[in-house]
């Protein structure tokens, strides 16, 4: 079997301690929570940190609070996150539907029991030329993201095009979430959107010394949100396209506000163009409007040949997935479609 390389492991018991450890470390220290992303990568030598700071047992990272919206500890497992849908007096069930649907479609039950929300938000970008073991990567003379110089997906590209493959980020972006980052130098809260960069290597603005401690989702009275994920199989697979959509719809069916976010089509989650959202607001969700908005929202979808399925087909699927999401927001019964696409019922 593949073995982990040797590393030093420290397990602080508080965020403060963890932050101090990161501040004192050289560049080769990494955080590990569930380890479902990092440890396989280490076995494949994609990352070889000298020191791992384990944050799994820090209670502060599993705190949940509500008030003006909800604050969810980054250390909660994805299984924990799914269970939260029952909480908050039930009011969060529909408004935060996208988050529950996204979390429920990450990997497999076993991996969701270990993987955390923070880990999924910071998930390493993925690429079929990069997510391979050491010997394989050696056989292609490595790639830009690790040990090499060329991006084999787009050899003339000056930057890495590995794919943002997190399910929860598009969902939380659609909900307008923000995140709290703590370092030895202090605490800052930023919009989740500002944590991402469209660069496969430097895909996070989070500093190496910072710990993502919690996610804040604003109060969304009257909103509904949904998440649609495209992948080959009903389990295991990372998204090759995803659509998170949230909308506040008036009793008469008029859209009052909306957000649409595309996942897995770039190195960061991509928000739909403003004109797509503008076209929605103030109008009822008719079939025609849905088609029109789906076309517009799909514009920024630029998949490349580095995941499962062909890029042309993934691009073509974008508008359909936006329309599925909008129809579900409208209240259409999408269970049959869900069953065919996701191969499971979702919440």
């Amino acid at each position: 079997m593949m073995r982990l390389p040797n590393f030093r492991f420290v397990a602080p018991t508080s965020v403060h301690q963890a932050a101090e450890l990161l501040a004192a470390s050289s560049g080769d220290t990494m955080l590990v929570a569930g380890g479902t992303d990092l440890l396989p990568n280490m076995k494949r030598r994609q990352q070889a940190p000298g020191t791992l700071v384990g944050v799994r047992h820090i209670a502060e990272l599993r705190a949940i609070s509500s008030g003006d919206g909800v604050t969810i500890g980054a250390g909660l497992t994805l299984t924990d996150v799914i269970r939260l849908r029952q909480g908050f007096g039930g009011q969060a069930r529909e408004a935060y539907g996208a988050l529950w649907q996204a979390a429920a479609q990450v990997a497999t039950p076993q991996l969701r029991n270990m993987g955390t929300l923070g880990g999924n938000l910071c998930l390493d970008t993925r690429c079929n030329y990069y997510d391979q073991n050491y010997e394989w990567r050696k056989a292609i003379d490595f790639c830009m993201k690790k040990d090499g110089e060329t991006c084999w997906v787009a050899p003339s590209s000056p930057k890495c095009v590995a794919v943002s493959s997190t399910d929860t980020a598009p969902a939380l972006l659609a909900l307008g979430a923000s995140v709290t980052l703590v370092s030895a130098n202090g605490t800052r809260q930023i919009a989740l959107s500002d944590m991402y960069r469209n660069d496969g290597i430097h895909y996070l603005t989070r500093q190496r010394s910072e710990i993502l401690t919690s996610v804040h989702v604003p109060r969304l009275d009257g909103w509904r949100s949904v998440y649609w994920k495209l992948r080959r199989r009903g389990a295991f697979d990372f998204p090759v396209l995803s659509v998170a959509a949230a909308a506040k719809i008036a009793k008469d069916g008029t859209v009052e506000a909306a957000r649409i976010v595309l996942g897995a089509v770039a190195s960061r989650p991509v928000e739909a163009p403003a004109e797509a959202i503008a076209a929605l607001v103030g109008r009822p969700l008719t079939d025609d409007l849905i088609s029109e908005v789906a076309e517009r929202a799909a514009q920024p979808s630029r998949p490349l040949d580095n995941t499962d399925f062909t890029l042309v087909w993934r691009k073509r699927m974008t508008k359909f997935f936006v329309s599925y999401a909008l129809k579900e927001l409208r209240g259409d019964d999408m269970r049959a479609r869900r069953l065919k696409v996701s191969r499971q019922e979702l919440l």
């Binding site: 079997m1 079929n128 010997e135 292609i140 065919k340």
Partner: protein, 818 residues
């Protein structure tokens, strides 16, 4: 019958579900060392130099082996002894083993791999069969029929040209079947040790301990009697563990040199490099039909992408043309097959070995034919089903045939009459049929000995030990062994201890491949058990004064059928027999009947009997996206007789599962980088995450029907079930897609992208189809001509001189191409 036919917990079930079964990687021995293989990072190159000095000096490293340590080649087939445990002068694919490090632990061995310096001189790389056909040099191997062509075959039974000329309609279609791999959950693993007597013991996850035994004796130049191979229970095999492998040779050699146990457990990537999986096959079917819907003649051409080594490839090539005649009556048949070498992991036998590819083509073409002739595809098939107890055009002796009953049962279950061509747009059903061997009629190497042997030891306690070389690969062979013995002796299966797959302890069984174990081991077990029963009956008859013929063995007793109260317990019967005859042990063996085929190439295809299957698949295709969903599968299988129906159903459902993977998503495919920048040729995604195989969530409802019509050649009438039920599912899906949205997908996997492309083509007024359109020119040899039985043939090749009469009408017919 008390045991046979009754659903039972399998004999090895408890150990498996409680995690106590010892797989190869569970073997842990004192002072054991660990081995890792350095594999080639280039696809095709001469090995200029290997310098292992840095690795040898690395702390914790005990030994580094290279090709110099393995001068003798091996290979599963006598005609393809083309592998070395470690590469000697060249490497042939990325993943070809070059050196081995034996160290105190896996980590150290892995680290030391990077310290081995290898210098390569790159050679032109062949990724595609047409490249290999077009370029005879550089040769990947210095043997084979020509250039980079490994094998060329041409077999002709009857005058096919004339039959096609006389046909009312001729259909010509080209199909492609993509390669895929076995994906057993257990990776290959092996442990070798020198026993206290200095002999070698190898524990290995292998389906064929007997062949591994022979290969070790050859490559290590040791007497076979000093080598013991123990096949540990396999965590799945599916054909992928049927070859002798590099890692087995390497740990054996290392254990002998170091006098310490050595273990290797392959990574998942390495399992993809061992491969031996489904050959990618391009094929052309030309079929002449008569007005009445019967077949006039058939000409099949196949081109197999063999990968870098021979493996079972010669047999695989013949198999792509062997079984077309076993399902439907084909009066004249011509088969041409070609296997080429490419710089990719070697292909070999995967469940269905060589036959699923051409079955896919044949069954889709029949669907097209039925439509062109405006016939129902089920009725068309019922009309042409081969007759039982006949000899086919290519001299395969067919026994019982349950195919018509299979078709009737699935069409009834799926309500075919009300669904086919009647479902709303986007939904469809498709039908396909198939057949498979119940064991290959010939061994891998030529010999006249039995294919399976069973020994029984009867204990005074009433316990029985059954010894057989067959390998438990998850299919349930241990259970079949004890069931057959228990049925004959009238005891409980759990009273019997199976000892299997151990070359020191068990009589030879050729291995768990070609669906041979139930039929061959089962017959051997019955013979051994009957011999034991006869001894016991003699002794009991004397004791009770009851004639032997009146004695019944049941419920752990031996009693008088006319006075059931009069009898003895089974253990008393053993004691009586032991007192009368001495220690009770018996043997049984099985040798398949001689094949009727007496021409060169006739060794592939014969089997004691054939199983039959029919499947109907329902699909739901989204016309906008091409997204395909399979809600239901109905499958009927002609099993002859179920020994343990739980296992039979398990094999049928498992086959459907594997078939769905092949039909919808699995692809063993490779990536080239831009040629101006790199010569790399790598497996696209050697991982279980990105090599897509269905999950439980992707599994449809499966309705299984078993056709029980005992075949006298099988043990209690049983035929095979391990492979056959896989075969009809892939073409049934393709046919269902056509029923749903009116496009033909003439290749696997059938993906949403391909469906959408075909729908686009249809919308643009082009051929509503996705698939290959060209079969390359191949320098076929003169065919071996054999007259079919109904033309007075005797199974021998005809004299070439008097083969072709002049002046035949070969006027070209209007050929329907699609």
């Amino acid at each position: 019958m008390k045991i046979v036919g009754t659903p039972r917990r399998r004999v090895d079930g408890r150990a498996k579900v409680t995690g106590q079964t010892k797989f190869a990687d569970d073997v842990v021995l004192p002072r054991m060392l660990h081995c890792k293989l350095l594999r080639a990072s280039v696809p095709h190159a001469r090995l200029v130099r290997i310098d292992a000095s840095r690795a040898t000096a690395h702390p914790g490293v005990h030994l580094v082996l290279t090709g110099n340590d393995f001068p003798i080649p091996y290979g599963i087939l006598p005609v393809s002894q083309d592998e070395h445990a470690l590469a000697r002068d060249k490497v042939r694919f990325v993943g070809d083993p070059v050196a081995a490090v034996i160290a105190r632990d896996e980590q150290t061995a892995f680290d030391a791999l990077d310290l081995i310096d290898v210098e390569y001189e790159p050679l032109t790389t062949f990724a595609d069969p047409e490249d290999s056909l077009a370029n005879p040099t550089p040769r990947i191997h210095e043997y084979g029929d020509t250039g980079n062509v490994h094998k060329l075959v041409s077999l002709q039974f009857g005058d096919v040209e004339q039959a096609l000329a006389d046909a009312d309609r001729v259909f010509e279609d080209i199909f492609f079947y993509q390669g895929n791999t076995h994906l057993p959950i257990e990776q290959h693993a092996a442990v070798a040790a020198k026993d206290p007597d200095g002999k070698l013991v190898l524990w290995s996850s292998t389906q064929t301990p007997h062949y591994v035994h022979r290969a070790l004796a050859k490559t290590l130049e040791m007497p076979a009697a000093h080598i013991r191979v123990i096949a540990t229970p396999n965590g799945g095999g599916f054909g992928g563990k049927s070859d002798p492998f590099n890692h087995e040779m390497v740990v054996a050699k290392a254990a002998l040199l170091l006098d310490r146990p050595v273990k290797i457990c392959l990574t998942r990537e390495e399992v993809f490099y061992c491969h031996r999986g489904r050959h990618p096959v391009l094929m052309q079917f030309t079929t002449g039909m008569k007005k009445d819907g019967t077949i006039a003649g058939m000409h099949v051409k196949t081109l197999l992408d063999g990968g870098a080594y021979g493996s079972y490839g010669v047999a695989s090539t013949f198999y792509t043309g062997a079984l077309q005649t076993v399902t439907y009556h084909v009066p004249a048949y011509h088969f041409q097959g070609c296997r080429v070498f490419t710089n990719k992991p070697p292909c070999g036998p995967k469940r269905g070995h060589g036959t699923p590819q051409s079955r896919f083509g044949q069954e889709i073409q029949l669907d097209k034919i039925a439509e062109a002739l405006t016939q129902d595809p089920a009725e068309l098939r019922l009309r042409i089903v081969e007759r039982p107890e006949t000899l086919t055009a290519n001299y395969l002796r067919v026994g019982t045939i349950g195919l018509s009953e299979c078709i009737r049962r699935v069409t009834r279950a799926a309500d075919w009459a009300n669904t086919f061509r009647k479902l709303p747009h986007g939904r469809g059903v498709g039908l396909a049929c198939s057949s498979y061997l119940s064991g290959a009629g010939l061994a891998i190497y030529w010999n006249d000995m039995p294919h399976s042997g069973v020994q029984l030891k009867l204990d005074r306690s009433g316990g029985v030990t059954a010894f057989c070389g067959a390998t438990e690969i998850g299919q349930g062979s241990d259970d079949v062994l004890v069931a057959c013995v228990a049925e004959v002796l009238g005891i409980d299966p759990l009273d019997i201890r199976p000892i299997t797959g151990d070359t020191d302890l068990t009589p030879v069984d050729l291995g768990s491949y070609s669906s041979r174990v139930t039929l061959m081991m089962g017959n051997a077990a019955i013979q051994a058990a009957e011999r034991a029963r006869d001894l016991l009956a003699d002794a009991v008859s004397r004791k009770l004064g009851v004639p032997r013929e009146r004695l019944v063995f049941a419920d752990r007793r031996v009693f008088d059928t006319e006075d059931p109260g009069k009898g003895v317990t089974f253990s008393d019967a053993v004691c009586l027999a032991e007192a009368a005859f001495g220690t009770i042990g018996t043997t049984g063996s099985y040798t398949p009947p001689k094949s009727a085929a007496r021409f060169k190439g006739g060794g592939v295809g014969p089997s004691p009997t054939y199983s039959y299957s029919a499947a109907i698949v329902e699909v739901d295709v989204d016309p906008d996206s091409g997204w395909i969903h399979v809600p239901r599968v109905w499958i009927a299988h002609d099993i002859g007789r179920s020994i343990n129906p739980v296992l039979v159903r398990g094999q049928v459902e498992g086959s459907v599962y594997m078939a769905l993977g092949e039909a919808l998503m699995e692809e063993q495919i490779f990536r080239r980088l831009p040629p101006r920048l790199s010569d790399a040729l790598v497996h696209k995604f050697p991982s279980m995450l990105e090599y897509k195989s269905p999950t439980t969530l992707d599994m449809p409802e499966v309705f299984t029907e078993l056709i029980e019509n005992p075949d006298p050649r099988g043990p209690f009438g049983a035929k095979e079930v391990g492979q056959g039920p896989l075969l009809p599912v892939m073409p049934a899906i393709a046919n269902a897609v056509y029923d749903a949205v009116g496009v033909r997908i003439d290749e696997v996997p059938i993906t949403p992208e391909k469906i959408l492309k075909a729908l686009d083509a249809k919308a643009a007024g082009k051929a509503p189809r996705y698939g290959p359109s060209h079969f390359p020119d191949i320098p076929w040899p003169e065919p071996v001509r054999v007259a079919p039985p109904w033309e007075g043939g005797d199974g021998k090749a005809q004299d070439v001189g008097r083969q072709k009469e002049e002046g035949r009408s070969t006027a070209a017919k209007a050929v329907i191409r699609s």
